[in-house]
Amino acid sequence: MMEGGLLFGNPWLHGLIMGVIVLSGAMGVAAYAVWFERKFAARMQNRPGPTEVGYGGLLQPIADLLKLLQKEHLIPRSADRPLFNLAPVLVVIAPLATLAVIPFGPGLVGTDPSIGLLFALAISSLMVIPVWMAGWASNNKYALLGAMRAAAQAISYEIPLLLAAMVPIVLTGSFRVGDIVAAQEGGRWFAFWPPGPGFFAFLLFFFASLAESNRIPFDIPEAESELVAGVTTEYSGMIFGLIYLAEYLHTFIASALAALLFLGGWQGPGPDGIHWMLLKSLLVFAVIFWIRWSWLRYRSDQLMAMCWKIFLPLGLVLVMASAIWVQLR
């Protein structure tokens, strides 16, 4: 197994330290993403948003966490107990495992294997199983409908997502995330450089990851006006908080991947480094929230139709186009 940049000589030490850095960083990002989203949405709606805890509600995520921890963990009597308890844990594991291969800067990565991108996408596609488990084990009809929608949506949108990710892979000729970022050296970001396919692939990746991470306009599995709360209907307390956290982590990973694959990763004008990476991924993150609080929701069959009739052919065309580009260059 080839290792990416090893900051700390010993792979064990490297793994441990990077794990602590990346995981705590990601958790913090996810927690403050909630705060940011609440503030952002509130300002869009002419509200102040959280103001009470800390300056401008800055301690609100911590207060929420403490509240969730204090709440009782209710299990419905007819629920499938082991699955019900296991599902939220597994839901969090998938995005956390994905973080291991996502570089946040040169060398700032758990491990950068030759199939890093494929690994990340494969693991995040696993998330649907625990989500399904949660919906199934709740033994609630709304949760079941939500699980059904989640499963259908996830398996459909995995394909356009992979096809969109194939474009930078074809252009670079490598699955390694580090190589893909290196290929965008000198501002030739894949979102803009091969003028046609790159940009559309970026859009495709963006919208497919919106669907993968269940964000509006594709938040059908948890459509609360129809399914109360989708799979999380029966969850309470911190175990609900875990699913919630996983969702935000998933969104953050999707935006980080978009930044890495299409926006040049940690490269930018001026010194390269984690600041560019964070800036870009948070920008994509903000756009996701902006869309989330501005658009309405599609119906599930329309979503499927869009996936199979628009996104999938578009993805295939894009992969072909980028392959032709590579050949002609």
Partner: protein
């Protein structure tokens, strides 16, 4: 084209980022000014002699649609100030739990005794907290701003053929003129720098002689909030802020 209309939605939500906030954190910092007719809670007031204005006639008890007022009528006794006999109320309770704020009790009061307040009653932890006893009602008189609507003013406003003399200031030949005249007067009283003299003049002019007394006693009541903006009026809102 259709994608442009999706961008329109994004534009609308983005341009709202710059608009002023439309809501306030719940413990009001007192910045919201309620309309002067705003009605929320109740107060019983004293008349101009400093006596309790309620004569215990039980009209409000009879008209209340949700039957939450109970009045105990006391024996007639001479008033200490004027010496004339008048009715007294020995007990008065109003259950705010079931009140629908319809203002009918105010409208029928012949003595201008029950007047609504512009401030919401503080939420309580027990049902008794929202049960307004006679003491609470009389205490409310001094606590916060009262609404513009006294029984006299309401009835004047609704009277199809007012018999009272035409006020000098108001436009003649208009039946509704006195009503319109009363509104700015009350408006001025809620403003902080209203002089008591300017306040009582139109009120005295518009009211017939019988109603002059209760109309006159309103201004001092309404003057309390501006005069003591810091102490008692703030005292009512302080606990809700905390």
């Amino acid at each position: 084209m259709s994608l442009l209309s999706l961008a329109q939605a994004l534009r609308v939500s983005f341009q709202n980022l710059t608009r002023p906030k439309n809501t306030e954190p719940l413990p009001w910092k007192g910045s919201r000014e309620r309309a002067e007719r705003y009605r929320a809670s109740f107060a019983l007031v004293h008349d101009e002699h400093g006596e309790e204005a309620c004569i215990g006639c039980m009209l409000c008890e009879k008209i209340c649609p949700s039957q939450i007022i109970s009045v105990t009528q006391g024996p007639k006794a001479p008033s200490a100030a004027t010496g004339k006999p008048r009715g007294w109320c020995t007990d008065f309770t109003l259950d705010l739990n079931a009140c629908i704020i319809c203002e009918l009790c105010v409208q029928v009061c012949p003595a201008d005794a029950i007047i609504m307040m512009r401030v919401q009653e503080k939420p309580g932890f027990a049902r008794e907290d929202l049960l307004l006893t006679m003491e609470k009602l009389y205490a409310n008189e001094k606590l916060a701003k009262l609404t513009w609507a006294t029984p006299t003013k309401l009835q004047e406003m609704q009277d199809p053929k007012p018999k009272r003399p035409e006020p000098v200031a108001a436009a003649p030949a208009k039946d509704a003129a006195p009503i319109k005249d009363a509104a700015p007067a009350a408006g001025a009283s809620s403003a902080k720098d209203a002089a008591p003299g300017a306040e009582s003049a139109p009120a005295a002019g518009t009211t017939p002689s019988k109603d002059a007394e209760p109309a006159k006693e309103v201004p001092p009541v309404k003057e309390t909030p501006p005069a003591s903006d810091a102490a008692p009026a703030a005292g009512t809102e302080k606990p809700s802020d905390a």
